[in-house]
Symmetry: C2
Subunit: 243 residues, 2 copies
Amino acid sequence: MKTVYLIEKTIQTNMLEKSHKHVTCASCLSRKNSLLCAISDSEIETIEQNKSCSYFKKDQPLFVEGSIPRGVYCINEGKVKIFARGEEGKEQIIHVAKAGEIVGFRAMFSGEPYTVAANTLEESNICFIGKSDFLNLVDTNSTLRNGILKELSKELGERASFIKNMAQKSVRERLASALIILDDIYGEEMINLSREDLANFVGTATETLIRLLKDFKDEGYIRTHVRKIELINQNGLISIAGT
Amino acid sequence: MKTVYLIEKTIQTNMLEKSHKHVTCASCLSRKNSLLCAISDSEIETIEQNKSCSYFKKDQPLFVEGSIPRGVYCINEGKVKIFARGEEGKEQIIHVAKAGEIVGFRAMFSGEPYTVAANTLEESNICFIGKSDFLNLVDTNSTLRNGILKELSKELGERASFIKNMAQKSVRERLASALIILDDIYGEEMINLSREDLANFVGTATETLIRLLKDFKDEGYIRTHVRKIELINQNGLISIAGT
DNA sequence: CCGAAAAAATGATCTAAATCATACTTCGAC
DNA sequence: GTCGAAGTATGATTTAGATCATTTTTTCGG
């Protein structure tokens, strides 16, 4: 009885924390390992006063393709999928962003509407910084600017490799590779994505994904806990994934 | 007799132009519609004194993956393929760069070795600007900097769509899409790529590509002149390519 | 705790595209 | 011009993975 009560309390506390809306940049732990790690106190102050911070439930959109970018989204807590929608709305997940990442700044520089969309993958706390505030910051802070140039360039390289993998690798190889990438993103937690989202990240049909996941389970590379996936032989997966 | 003589002379002149090494930035027509269109005379002067300019034969490497970026390449004349190499060296072409484009600046910002390689697709004149000169320019010229931010962001969006296409579209659709893109790149000229390169751009086997090209020919969308491809029904191809 | 709906799993079938094999063209070197 | 090699073309066969159909499990609201 008591145990149950305690567990319930813990859950409630967590949920309270997650739904709590006022995160300050100064106290934001996620900022520490983000692009915004090296901004001055006065710059933080300015951002602080103009940002808004909201709680998002699971699978809520931050922005959709075709809309005009009005600012950037800082993930304080939670995960966000960036995806392109194809025929009949089928999603291709391009990237899974985690706490500390800034989402949606590419479209602001390109001067065009979003070409991709972003949805939360789980309950998340996300702050919004308006376009002009963010661009001002980029204009005046060369460290941030260089960080952004570096980030954009790095991602461009990653996407080249993504394209190559889609073209040349089997689904099995791509799944192994996806699991390694996601495991890194989820860090301490276990990978926690619907089979459909995972299939849309790997770029395959949900049924195919489920079958291959079963193979990996049978071969001892992973364990599954309902929808959560635990890697138990990372090196094996890395070698399946290939170069 | 006289006619033949004239033609031969024209050819020789063209070749001379292509192999001619000393193009000045001030006179470079390709620069006009490039990222470097808005730099001052004194900046041009500095670049001019430090750049080198070389003639490349067909299929020569500008850089290979894994090597350290030492500068950027400005295409004065010719075309360059940017590609990622997979198992057994199979190439996935990510981008075809034409005159006016600057190639290789992404890796300079990322601070990492090249993740992709670049080869000329035809005889080309290409100038080389050293890393420090280029980075200085970027640091001091905010127009150029914004142009680069914009370019990087735009390409990031394009690559997201590339990934989606690889995952969700048939080879036929991707080929139609590739022909439209290449036709735009080649402009006045006809698309002029080996079947293998075209297959590596579309992301398919050379045999499959050749068959589909024949279909398009039979259906009246294209005409082929040995290796050159002429589009005769662009709208048809666009509608095959889909969104 | 129960029932419906969503998600996951499994099985059977079909097909787009890869692969393998071979022939035909084009091109550049001599 | 002729030869050999590379590039292009076509045909036959195989297969990875999509699609369709059904069952089982999980989730979640009342």
